[in-house]
Amino acid sequence: MPRVVRIRAGSATNGPGRGFRRRRLAGARTRAPEAGFSIVEICITVAIMGLAFTALLGSMATATSTSDLMARRAQADSYGRQLTELLRGGEVKLVQCDPDLTIAEAYESALASVDPLDRFTFKVVDARATSDVTETNLDDWDLDCWTTRPLLEWVQIEVTAAGTTPVSVKVAVLLRHGESA
């Protein structure tokens, strides 16, 4: 059996139905300020989230590109170290100077012939030699061409990793020549 709810009508003074109308009117008055509240809420929310996402995505994009840059820098650095190890190990050496080339050009040509990876571009940006080991200032290392090997050579190589933003790394090595047992 369905339960029958009996709604009590208004008092005799007010007449039937008046209490119900008053309650309806009271409800309408309290709900009236909420009209459009949700849309305001949503607008504020969208604005906050938009700002937050813009900031976060911006920083993520920066971090990602920096990370990529650093990774390529590390690879270029590692490659440069391999080239310097070739020089240190004596796998690439200049026996005599070619008068038509500077020491840097001669080393670049020699290194290019044994390029271990061929993934990066490199350039020998500076190379100096001296037979006076007491000379500590590199600017005074001015041996251009020699018949016997100089005692010390300093070679600086710049390795460039390609990409949207090319990354260049400079590595240097000091080469010592002399009598070894």
Binding site: A26, G27, T45, I48, A52, F53, R73
Partner: protein
């Protein structure tokens, strides 16, 4: 005046709170990812500095060996002796020291030390000097090279 029904009043601002909660969650997640990436970048930078220091220290040791080969009066006593420092153009100045360990008329065993930026490399070097009066270069033999 009749107060508004409680269920209507409780829903006010709930969307905003949920959105703020979501933003906070996403921000924490992004911060964690960014922190991870930043740590990686810092590690790479430290590694690059370390590699530069290693290369400079190697150069310092080689420079020290060249000094010892060129001048046999260097490193003749057991006290640590400063050799000319190597002014590395890529890293900082490399301080080079040597210390005589044992000596005989024909050879000396010395320990070379190169320090740069808190990084130290050492090498054990044996120097075979030509007899006094004979003008011949000192021959070196390197038995240990540690970074």
């Amino acid at each position: 005046m009749t107060p508004p029904p409680p269920e209507v009043r409780d829903e006010r601002g709930s969307t905003l709170i949920m959105a703020l909660g979501a933003v906070t969650f996403i921000a924490i997640t992004f911060s964690a990812v960014l922190g991870y990436q930043t740590t990686g970048l810092k590690a790479q930078a430290i590694l690059a500095d370390k590699r530069d220091a290693e290369a400079a220290a190697d150069a310092g040791l080689d420079f020290g060996v060249a000094q010892l080969q060129a001048n046999r009066t260097l490193c003749t006593n057991t006290l640590p002796e400063a050799l000319p420092s190597w002014d590395d153009p890529v890293a900082e100045e490399v301080v080079v020291q040597c210390e005589l360990v044992v000596a005989s008329p024909s050879r000396r065993l010395v320990v070379l030390k190169a320090e740069v930026g808190g990084f130290t490399a050492t090498a054990d070097v044996t120097l075979y000097d030509a007899p006094v009066g004979i003008d011949a270069p000192t021959v070196v033999s390197i038995s240990k090279w540690e970074r």
